[in-house]
């Protein structure tokens, strides 16, 4: 990196994060740090059974407990809407999915462990908790439906009595290709088949969810402080569909948010409850989730069971792919749940390859488990895992190098833009380049020698590769509307230039660790040619930021950043008009460079602050043709997804005595298009890798057959810790800029979690195969020592 880029702090500089100062000194302002005068506390009484009919609730004893203000049950929510689902999937037969009601507090039935039955509001958190224990409830336990196959069986107990079955939808994509795909399989020279599980996970941001509802009765104004990735979406969903509060009477604030990874996208019952109760009680109501409660109430992720088949011709070209997946929805439809196994999964099944025929079938299933929705990657990790595992298996069956099999089938650089058979058009990419880079940084050539050393030490060494594609920056709104989204997916920004030249940017995007305050300022500073310190980024408050769709799907810079660029360009256009007036020159001759407006070919210029001051003190100003002031808002609606891609390599050692897997090295060679802050991009990849490796080796959300969640604490759910992971080799020097957004950026937030699980599993299978355990062709994640050891024994 040239020195001057770092010094200027613009695009391409690894600028240190300004937000770190408050976080490192204990001065962050997270939702639980907000305490309002007269605040009451709510504790939710949650179901301890997975499925049951509520006969009665006796709250008399609890009501009489000290400090209790009021106890709410479903009766209090008559006339209040259910939690809405934001995506309607249409099934193979053209019918809409089955969509059950999701009440704020359980009505008539409890449908999963953790389903809220009653809410106790009291003067202190302890008083609320004590009183909740005194509520007597009469619930008849019903058989729980936990296994998806059992849930779909004829005569299975129904999670929702008013639905025809536990099948949410049966989706086929591309349905018109179904027969052609089947025919391709009959003609294939070789077919590789793999049954696999994409294990259920819990996102586990370190900050548990918190909601504080407030109500200003004098102005009939409700405010919700919440741990959200998208406060405007919460305002819309909760205001319009649940509580019936119009936007101008409802403010939603998501201040510093301690991680999200998808789980804080969704509109949750506790948010609606606190807002509702604050209005009823005319005092603030606060809920702080415990970690145990987070496991029982945050939407879970993944939980797909899939059979994938890959048909190859005699030349080892991929001829067709066919998959059948059961996707767990849990007991209710969380906000974007239906989109994950469909439009975020099926459209990625072409991967980096030229497979001409693809058919994806997904059955989404209701079970008596916590709702499942998007978790970092959302659908794309599931697609990548299937593809990259089945390709590795095929290479082994055919006796060819897995790297060469991939290369043979890669879309070539000259084939872009590339129309896949699963609807999407990839704009750019160079998969050969990222594969080459991966082999270089992972020292693939030196692997054989390292494997010998391991062998001498009694260990089995393996190397696994995965090459992923993802679709980010979700978009365009008219397309997602056709696909069933009940929202637009643009982003907006307001750029407010102040009189003395400093800039306040308001974005609808939201940072919960991504560093928007730093990177977005770099972009604006670079465009105008001023110091990034003159630019402040504001987000997370519906009262001062324009409409926003928030942060998820690696969309912040690609969509939110593009809106900021668009608004800043409007600012520059207007500033040039002002400069032209001040310099008595033609607007066409004005050039902006390094924070100065100059008349081309002359030494006449006016600096940025001179123009901004003229805009607000318009004494010498073209008032007849130009409004004073310098503030612009822009909405940006992307014309396509972005398509980051990359090659990931994992090197492991397996202890044949215990089955324990140790990751010795992990390398990632990504193509994210242009990069604004390389330091932050590295951090995003490293964090994603840890989550992907966690899925592959450690994490598993487990229910027993009665629907009890067995993994509801950090003593039972294995979070990756510092000692479980290696240091990473991360590279993003392969760049094919996105062709359809102004910054040429693709997004980097989810890649690590998408590409790494298959690389890890491929590495372990490689180690076992090399060690002579040739019967082991697949092990389901997480690859715990017990699972690996058991697989070796068969």
């Amino acid at each position: 990196m040239p020195k001057d880029i770092e010094a200027q702090g613009g695009i391409g500089a690894s600028t240190k994060r300004r937000e770190d100062i408050r976080f490192l000194t204990g001065n962050g302002r997270y939702t639980d740090d907000i305490n309002l005068r007269g605040q009451a506390y709510v504790h939710f009484l949650r179901s301890d059974m997975a499925h049951g009919r509520i006969n009665g609730l006796d709250t008399a004893a609890a009501d009489a407990m000290p400090g209790v203000i009021r106890i709410f049950t479903a009766k209090d929510f008559e006339g209040v809407g259910g939690l809405p689902c934001g995506w309607q999937v249409t099934d193979r037969h053209g019918q809409p999915m089955q969509e059950p009601k999701h009440p704020v507090l359980a009505e008539g039935k409890v449908r999963h462990v953790g389903d809220p039955i009653a809410a106790v509001v009291a003067e202190t958190p302890d008083a609320a908790r004590d009183a909740a224990e005194a509520i007597v409830f009469d619930i008849d336990e019903l058989p729980a439906v936990i296994d998806m196959k059992a849930a779909l069986a004829e005569g299975a107990t129904k999670v929702h009595d008013d639905l025809s079955s536990n099948l949410c939808y049966d989706w086929g994509f591309v349905e018109e290709n179904r027969e052609a795909v089947n025919e391709a399989f009959t003609k294939a020279a070789h077919v590789t088949r793999l049954d696999l599980v994409n294990n259920r996970l819990v996102a586990n941001p370190m900050e548990p969810r918190v909601a504080v509802g407030d109500y200003d009765a004098w102005n009939d104004q409700s405010t919700l402080y919440t741990t959200s990735q998208n406060p405007h979406v919460i305002r819309l969903l909760m205001g319009a569909f649940v509580l019936g509060i119009p936007e101008h009477k409802l403010r939603v604030v998501a201040p510093d948010v301690g991680g999200g990874f998808g789980s804080k996208i969704f509109h949750y019952a506790e948010e609606a409850f606190c807002t509702f109760a604050a209005r009823q009680l005319k005092r603030p109501v606060k809920w702080t989730s415990s970690r145990a409660e987070a496991f029982l109430s945050d939407a879970h992720g993944r939980d797909h069971v899939t059979t994938i088949e890959l048909a190859l011709d005699a030349d080892h070209k991929f001829a067709a792919i066919r998959t059948e997946t059961r996707a767990n929805m849990g007991a209710y439809l969380s906000t974007f749940a239906p989109s994950v196994p469909t439009w975020l999964h099926g459209v990625l099944m072409a991967g980096n390859y030229t497979t001409p025929l693809i058919y994806v079938n997904v059955k989404a299933v209701f079970t008596n488990t916590i709702p499942v929705d998007a978790y970092r990657g959302a659908g794309r990790p599931e697609a990548t895992f299937q593809l990259e595992r089945v390709i590795d298996k095929a290479a082994r069956e055919l006796g060819v190098d897995p790297v060469e099999l991939r290369r043979k089938n890669f879309i070539k650089p000259e084939q872009f833009p590339y129309q896949t058979p699963v609807a999407v058009v990839y704009d750019t990419g160079n998969y050969h380049a990222t594969m080459d880079k991966l082999l270089e940084i992972s020292d693939h050539a030196g692997f054989a020698a390292r494997a010998e050393t391991s062998k001498a030490n009694g260990k089995l060494r393996g190397f696994g590769i995965a090459h992923y594609i993802e679709a980010c920056g979700i978009a365009p709104s008219n397309l997602v509307g056709q696909l069933g989204a009940r929202a637009g997916l643009y982003e907006s920004a307001t750029v407010r230039v102040n009189a003395t030249g400093s800039i306040s940017v308001y974005t609808g995007s939201h940072s919960h660790g991504q560093g928007h305050e730093t990177t977005f300022a770099q972009v604006v500073a670079e465009m105008i040619g001023i110091d990034a310190g003159q630019v402040e980024i504001h987000h997370g408050d519906t009262s001062n930021t324009p409409m926003g769709m928030g942060t998820y799907g690696s969309r912040s810079l690609a969509v939110g950043g593009s809106a900021i660029v668009k608004a800043t360009n409007k600012i520059i256009d207007k500033a040039k008009k002002i400069a032209a007036h001040l310099l008595e020159a033609s607007e066409a001759d004005i050039e902006l460079k390094d924070g100065k407006f100059a008349v081309a070919g002359t030494d006449k210029s006016v600096d940025w602050a001179g123009v901004t001051l003229a805009a607000y003190v318009p004494h010498n100003y073209p008032l007849e043709s130009l409004e004073p002031g310098l503030e612009e808002t822009a909405f940006y609606d992307p014309s396509n997804f972005t398509y980051p891609s990359g090659g990931y390599g994992c090197e492991v050692e397996v202890d044949p005595e215990t089955g324990k897997v140790e990751i010795l090295a992990f390398s990632a060679a990504d193509d994210f298009g242009n990069i604004v802050n390389p330091m932050i991009v590295d951090g995003q990849v490293q964090g994603g890798l840890a989550q992907g490796i966690g899925q592959a080796l450690l994490e598993n959300c487990t229910y027993d057959e009665n629907g009890q969640l067995l993994s509801a604490s950090y003593m039972d759910y294995a979070m990756p810790r510092a000692d479980d992971l290696p240091s990473f080799r991360v590279d993003h020097s392969c760049v094919t800029p996105c062709t359809h957004n102004p910054l040429g950026v693709k997004g980097c937030g989810e890649a690590g979690a998408i590409g790494s699980p298959p690389a890890v599993v491929n590495a372990v299978i490689d180690a076992l195969q090399r060690g002579g355990y040739t019967h082991v062709t697949h092990i389901d994640m997480p690859l715990t020592p017990a699972r690996v050891w058991a697989a070796m024994q068969k």
Binding site: Q691, S713, M719, D723
Partner: protein, 163 residues
């Protein structure tokens, strides 16, 4: 409710507490020191680590009453006297050792205790010592880097050298 006094970040403070009040709650709600975070209920995540009489403890696992008259240091007491970041805090910023910032106070407190015990820890020693602090954002790479850098060690080869 009992009035409880202790020395926090060099100042003698007091507030009301119940017998069951945890030190983490006393700091956050009693004293308004919200830099100490609570990320779990089982003493696993380490977001709540503070120093009590110089030793790192998980403040969610200690009753406030048991720390009466103790000397407690929280993240709010870690900057230099002039308010600038300490060497360790500065290393976290320089090496991007934090993202959402929620685990950061506990991470810094644990890392400070490590460096007190072992002024030049190896990568493996850092990873082992920080096992009681969970971070979901960074993948630990840059946390390890920050701690090594704070101890004056070269971090340029972290992750590069093949084993």
């Amino acid at each position: 409710m009992t009035r409880l006094s202790m020395k926090v970040n060099g100042r003698t403070v007091s507030a009301e507490a119940e017998g069951r009040t945890l030190l983490s709650a006393f700091l956050r709600q009693g004293l308004g020191l919200t830099g100490t975070h609570v990320g779990c209920d089982t003493g696993q995540c380490g977001a709540c680590v503070v120093h009590v009489d110089g030793k790192p403890v998980k403040s969610c696992n200690v009753l406030a009453m048991d720390t009466a008259d103790a000397e407690v240091t929280t993240i709010e007491g870690m900057a230099n006297a002039d308010g600038s970041l300490s060497v360790l805090q500065q290393a976290f910023q320089d090496h991007h050792g934090l993202q959402c910032g929620f685990c950061t106070p506990g991470m810094v407190m644990s890392a400070a205790a490590l460096l007190e015990e072992n002024p030049t820890p190896s990568e493996a020693e850092i990873r082992h010592y920080l096992e009681g602090n969970i971070c979901r954002c960074t993948g630990y790479h840059n946390i390890v880097k920050a701690v090594m850098a704070a101890s004056g060690q070269d971090v340029s080869q972290l992750g590069v050298a093949a084993e």
